[in-house]
Point group: C2
Chain length 432, copies 2
């Protein structure tokens, strides 16, 4: 080990996460040096806003707005990318790898879209590319999936990968409030951004699931192959019915092996109230992986935030430093082609919860169940609530046995055309 020598760090991006990482690097240098085998020295920071130097205690002279001061700096061994977003982060990472820099990133969008290309370049240039923080914040996931569970064939992943939506759903469930109210509360507390669409619509979770499932199923799964659907259609009454039926509602990222296919999808799901995932509240993340040997293993923790994320980023930096000191490179981790294909969403089979407004009249249920039956969808439970005398309508909730997504979509369209059906209010998939 090159004890006593130092390893140079370049930091790109000094936003919330970048500032958190800088704080750790500057705040406990001895501890980090003991683990890494060398001092980790911050050499340059790529950041436009120089005013940030004061609060963080970073020398003003380290700030630059020129990417070349990072990539062209011979004193920098490891570059930490915390700019976020696809561009220019992707191009910067690519260039750093090509110029022989090791890279640590928390960028889920870049990793899910460009992993194969980046890893190939990293391997060619014998440098490390690490991205533990890209999924699950501080929760160890990438390394356990790649290394510690390697003897397993992964059967399924069920995961809460987005803290913002889990926070909103928790408040909706506990307080009986509607989506828009819960969203506003989340924004007031800083748990949701001003433009929350990437979180709310499941895009963020889809990026993360693409990364995890690519590793778990040894086949490249791109974000656009992950079906995603958001939580904005959920209403307070869906939570009440769910509870009545023994379920909680969570936004789950699901990847599941079925024969030669992998299902990969993000959407709201009814899950049994007693399951551990149902009990994961607030901004926390939880990832349940099912392996053929290990059975179900759950990882739980803070999926976001500067402190938790810096735990993963700095641990990645330390691992690379250890490799530098031993003269080794962390081995390539390109997805081996398992031949599994992503199943189209229309082919996916699950159980369904359906809520609809119907005319308060005899024989309505018979008509609906006939349409469902015509599409091979059988009903497992029905709740019919008292009718509203003013509008002469009633609300019906139907739980189905497993049925194909495509059939359910068609059946719902047909059902909506029935004269006795006023409106299909919602439908949510069920995983038991």
């Amino acid at each position: 080990m090159a004890d006593g020598e130092s390893i140079g760090i370049g930091l790109m991006g000094l936003g919330v996460i970048g500032s958190g990482v800088a704080k750790v690097l500057l705040g406990k240098p001895e501890t980090l040096a003991r683990e890494a085998g060398s001092r980790l020295v911050l050499k340059r920071v790529l950041e436009r806003d120089v005013s940030k130097h004061g609060a963080l205690g970073i020398e003003r002279s380290l700030f630059t707005t020129e990417f070349n001061d990072i990539v062209g700096n011979p004193e920098i061994d490891i570059v930490i990318e915390l700019i976020g977003g696809e561009h220019p982060a992707f191009e910067y990472i690519l260039e750093c790898l090509k110029r022989g820099k090791h890279v640590v990133t928390a960028n889920k969008e870049v990793m899910s879209k460009h992993w194969t290309e980046l890893q190939t370049v990293a391997d060619r240039h014998k440098v490390s590319l690490r991205y533990e923080a890209s999924v699950g914040g501080g929760i160890p996931l990438i390394a356990p999936f790649q290394e510690d569970l390697v003897a397993n064939e992964v059967r399924a992943i069920y995961a809460i990968l987005n803290g913002t939506t889990n926070y909103i759903l928790t408040r909706m469930a506990k307080e009986g409030i509607d989506f828009s109210v819960a969203l506003k509360k989340a924004q007031e507390l800083g748990y949701a951004e001003a433009d929350p669409s990437k979180d709310i619509e499941g895009v963020d979770a889809a990026y993360k699931l693409a990364i995890l499932s690519t590793i778990a199923f040894s086949t490249e799964i791109k974000p656009e192959q992950v079906y995603h659907e958001g939580i904005s259609r959920l209403q307070a009454r869906d939570f009440r019915y769910a509870h009545e039926l023994g379920y909680a509602i969570k936004l789950l990222a699901i990847a599941k092996r079925t024969g030669q296919h992998v299902e990969a999808r993000v959407h709201p799901v009814f899950i049994p109230e007693e399951s551990l995932l149902a009990k994961v509240d607030g901004v926390y993340n939880a990832i349940n992986v099912e392996g053929d040997l290990v059975g179900n293993v759950i990882f739980y923790g803070q999926g976001a935030g500067p402190s938790a994320t810096s735990s993963a980023v700095v641990s990645d930096v330390i691992k690379i430093a250890q490799h530098i000191n031993r003269g080794t490179v962390s081995p390539a981790r390109l997805p081996r082609e398992s031949g599994l294909k992503v199943k189209p969403m229309s082919e996916v089979e699950t159980r369904y919860y359906m809520r609809m407004n119907v005319a308060d009249r005899a024989g309505v249920l018979a008509q609906i169940s006939k349409v469902l039956g015509d599409h091979n969808i059988s009903i497992s439970a029905v709740i019919q609530k008292e009718s509203d005398p003013a509008t002469q309508t009633a609300e019906i909730v139907i739980m189905t046995h497993p049925a194909k997504e495509e059939a359910v979509r068609l059946a719902l369209k047909e059902t909506e055309r029935l004269a006795v059906v006023r409106e299909i209010n919602n439908f949510v998939r069920v995983e038991a």
Copy 2:
């Protein structure tokens, strides 16, 4: 990578776990070869009972009763030790390392008692020693603690590390039955051994906590430094009171940094009913680690059983095979001396639950609280149940504020000497 070549495996012990590992090695050789970079070939099995060969499909000629056929066999690169117990497993592992064999073990007793010596020998002979399965069965713990959370200073570990006792406590809590009844049921189902004392008394969990806390706190913590206390004193009524007060009862392994000390202890604990650890039921394990950066992370899964354990054992074998193929050795992981000392149990401070039988008479509580007060123990809650007219006694439950173990012991002795106190029935520590 030495693709196509093979790596020789010697297996010591073909009990429940050994048979599970043999099944995996023989059952999916292609999958393992793809991950390891070489075929993993079982060369010899150290096992007296040759009759086992049939069911497992192991060639009879591979069986031996001579340790030398393992350690002296040049075709064996990696030895898997699954004999269990301290002797002769320790001597066998030591000898294998000295003779240049890599070793994978699930042996918590040997690892907790002899880790430093074994690791020193492994380092000297440039071979790997891996023991992921020694704690938490198939749950990735050793590697995440050593590598993925390395940027953190660990503040505390709260863990359910013994499935047998968690199963018994779950049944006691859910069915209102007493310890002896629950134990018998666990034995009937194979979840508890005929002689369950190591599980029941917390010895097994203490071995595991010694290993985890040695890693987490970078200081050698021996099993005999871990205070342990079993679950046999718990009664159905303790669970009823716990529930009434909003708590569950779990056997927790706790390691906690307090200043320059580490507390390391295994005993029944009251924990808040809404905490996730309280919701871990049956034979499952769960490990909550609190780091300065990452906050609380929980790992959950099957802590025992042949299939889950073989997940960890075989993943360890694959990691070593990858190193062999790259010509590297997994780096030494000796606990760096952090200077932290184990705090004597008498110095530990927690809250307490106390249950006692007292004379059904005015002024009793005043007498008891005076004794407690004399020892600086203050009361946070009291439950007094209706008295038993036959014996003219009443049951009192007291919850205290944090107090020193030593003071509580003394106070309880004095309380027991009060004329109005018939018996101290139980006391249990409380963690909030």
